[in-house]
């Protein structure tokens, strides 16, 4: 297992740009705040968290679709954050993205063939029209769409089919690394499984790594090798899938796992209900940023921010109380008996 990507202390602050401001200067929002991790070749690292946790921003930082405020991203040993515009464009051949919105991410006025062939043209991989059509047909087949549809426009396809087109575009260059930004959350339930399976099949065939952004822990369980949980711009827990799901250490991970409703009537009796809302990223609580909602919070948590520390082999968590024997959170009683 070789390291493919490494992120060191990534920070993205919004609203700190220069210029004239009338009235009080707004505090910059640190959407991503000191995040470090690595992804190995062929691995799927999933990142989960609620809205505002910075997971989407992080995905874009890795591909340098937005500029980091601090920190570095190395892909294949090369620092992406130091590349010139030309070097970065060349590096895009190795790193691609699948977007959340299958409707918005395909240019409405271009045909499927034009959309999928765009990366191929950028890198001069296809020269002639014939070559282009052959390669597009091949890619469409790989994502399970009939090549005969390549001259249609995106609006003629359903959400799931559009997502397949987006995936074909992302794999066209045989990248090493793909950021998948909630690729199934906009799709109908019966279509989600198709796309999850497709992403897995493609990975098996081509061996690339995924950085899989999701809010649905159940989907993550199926696709991830390792899972990273984020809260308010920071990693609160990261570890192998099995340990995250069976022995979560951070109280937030436990709550997240327990809050997801499952299509199983027997499961509805036990649930951890967190109080309150996710604080605004512009006003992150001091100490452990989770202390305002954490049922275990002590004085220490309000003062001192816990660092990530190893709690089990390969599993690290940022909680003062994390230890190999997982702490149990209070579980709410069912509100009614059925």
């Amino acid at each position: 297992m070789t390291e493919l990507l490494r992120a060191d202390n990534l920070v993205k602050a919004f609203g700190s740009e220069g210029g004239f401001h009338i009235g009080a200067r707004k505090q910059p929002v640190r959407a991503v705040n000191g995040v470090s991790f690595s992804v190995t070749t062929g691995e799927t690292l999933a990142v989960v968290g609620e809205s505002g946790c910075g997971k989407s921003t992080l995905g874009r930082l890795l591909l340098r679709l937005i500029e980091p405020t601090e920190g570095q991203v190395h892909i294949g040993g090369v620092d992406v954050t130091q590349m010139s515009a030309a070097e970065l464009r060349a590096a895009r051949r190795q790193m691609q993205m699948v977007f959340q919105d299958p409707y918005g991410s395909l240019s409405p006025r271009r045909t499927v063939a034009e959309i999928i062939a765009e990366p191929l043209e950028v890198f001069g991989i296809v020269k002639t029209r014939q070559e282009r059509r052959e390669r597009v047909a091949e890619l469409l087949e790989q994502v399970g769409l009939p090549p005969t549809l390549m001259d249609r426009h995106p609006r003629q396809f359903s959400g799931g089919q559009r997502q397949r087109i987006g995936i074909a575009r992302a794999i066209a260059l045989n990248p090493d690394f793909i950021v998948a930004d909630e690729p199934v959350s906009a799709l109908d339930v019966s279509v989600q499984a198709q796309i999850v399976n497709l992403l897995q099949d493609l990975q098996e065939a081509k061996g690339f790594s995924y950085f899989f952004i999701a809010h649905d822990l159940a989907v993550v369980r199926h696709i991830a090798d390792r899972v990273m949980v984020m809260y308010l711009g920071r990693i609160v827990e990261i570890g192998p899938k099995r340990s995250i799901y069976t022995a979560p250490q951070h109280p937030y991970t436990q709550a997240l796992l327990s809050a997801a409703p499952e299509p199983d009537v027997k499961k509805r009796t036990k649930r951890i209900i967190l109080s309150g809302d996710v604080p605004s990223p512009s006003n992150v609580p001091p100490g452990c940023s989770f202390h305002t909602r954490c049922p275990l919070a002590q004085e220490q948590c309000r003062q001192v921010r816990p660092e990530l520390r190893e709690v089990a082999p390969g599993q690290t968590a940022a909680c003062h109380f994390a230890e190999p024997n997982p702490i149990k959170l209070p579980v709410s009683a069912p509100a009614y008996a059925s």
Binding site: L63, L65, R89, A90, R92, R93, Q96, M97, F99, Q100, D101, G104, S105, L106, S107, P108, R109, R110, E118, P119, V122, F123, Q142, V143, G144, L145, P146, L149, D151, R152, H153, R155, Q156, F157, S158, Q161, G166, R169, L173, Q194, N197, L198, D201, L202, A205
Partner: protein, 293 residues
């Protein structure tokens, strides 16, 4: 490798641009009317020397303020000039200004607007301030100020009309660009490594084209009206050369002598302006990717 041989029944029937255009025309009798009117007037302007029964500048003291007759279908004015011939030659100025000025303004204004909207920064602030400044004046006032500074003549009038319309195009293009720039497909094209100029040409411009083209068809009408107004004020086409505007101006002084120049030119302007507005509406619907399914 994955094999997902599954029915793709949701794929909707496709419609080509031609079919869309045909459907738009057949669906709207007003479009046929507008197209016929405009093509007719373009033909009239092109073939004016062949069509005009008289020299539009030739004066004749024998037939001053004549009523319509077999010799002069729309009568004559106070100098005995044939009104029909003057209208036919006048259509040349009006149609040239009417079509060229919005095209020039659209090219310049859209370029400014797209560049300002896409890149932002200092250039954007400059362009925005300039647009605000120019839009603070009504277009007629603006045209009067500029033509007073530049003077008359064909090229100057064209410049005046174009400049008067640039801020409108720039503003619409900038606003649309700001919206399109946020679309995930623009980010997607950055992610595949496309160069910025190509991103703008392929993914931004086609998606802001609809409002720009609509604006252009609407402003054809405005340009004809504005040229007429300038000529009416004596700042446009210089007498004795005719344009629809100065035909009305001259006619107004002599309205009791002969109402035919005003009636004829007014009718021509109304007809052309109306037709271009109808086309503008149809083009808007045609360019909307979601309509026509």
């Amino acid at each position: 490798m994955t094999s997902l041989d599954q029915p793709v029944e949701a794929v909707r029937p496709t419609r080509t641009l031609l079919e869309n255009v045909t459907a738009t025309f057949i669906g709207r009798p007003s479009m046929i009317f507008a197209a016929v009117v405009i093509l007719t007037f373009i033909a009239i302007a092109l073939f004016a020397p062949l069509l005009a029964p008289y020299d539009p500048l030739a004066q004749s003291y024998l037939v001053i303020n004549a009523y319509p007759s077999a010799e002069h279908w729309l009568g004559t004015d106070q100098f005995g000039r044939d009104v029909l011939s003057r209208l036919i030659y006048g259509s040349r100025n009006s149609m040239i200004f009417g079509i060229t000025a919005p095209i020039i303004a659209a090219l310049v204004g859209t370029t400014l607007g797209v560049v300002a909207g896409y890149f932002g920064g200092i250039f954007d602030r400059l362009v925005t301030r300039m647009i605000d400044l120019l839009l603070a004046f009504p277009d007629l006032l603006l045209a009067i100020i500029i033509s007073a500074a530049l003077g008359g003549g064909f090229w100057n009038i064209l410049a005046v009309l174009s400049i008067a319309f640039v801020p409108g195009f720039a503003r619409v293009a900038r606003a649309s660009t700001l919206a399109v720039k946020q679309e995930p497909y623009v980010e997607a094209s950055v992610a595949v490594g496309l160069r910025t100029p190509l991103i703008i040409l392929r993914h931004v411009v086609p998606n802001i084209a609809a409002p720009v083209v609509v604006l252009m068809t609407l402003w054809v009408a405005s340009a004809i009206r504005l040229e007429a107004a300038l000529s009416f004020l004596g700042l446009g086409t210089r007498p004795p050369y005719p344009s629809w505007g100065n035909i009305i101006r001259d006619g107004l002084n002599n309205i009791f002598g002969s109402p035919w120049p005003i009636i004829g030119a007014g009718f021509a302007i109304t007809l052309v302006v109306l037709s271009f507005n109808m086309i503008g509406d149809a083009v808007r619907d045609l360019l909307d990717p979601e309509i026509g399914q």
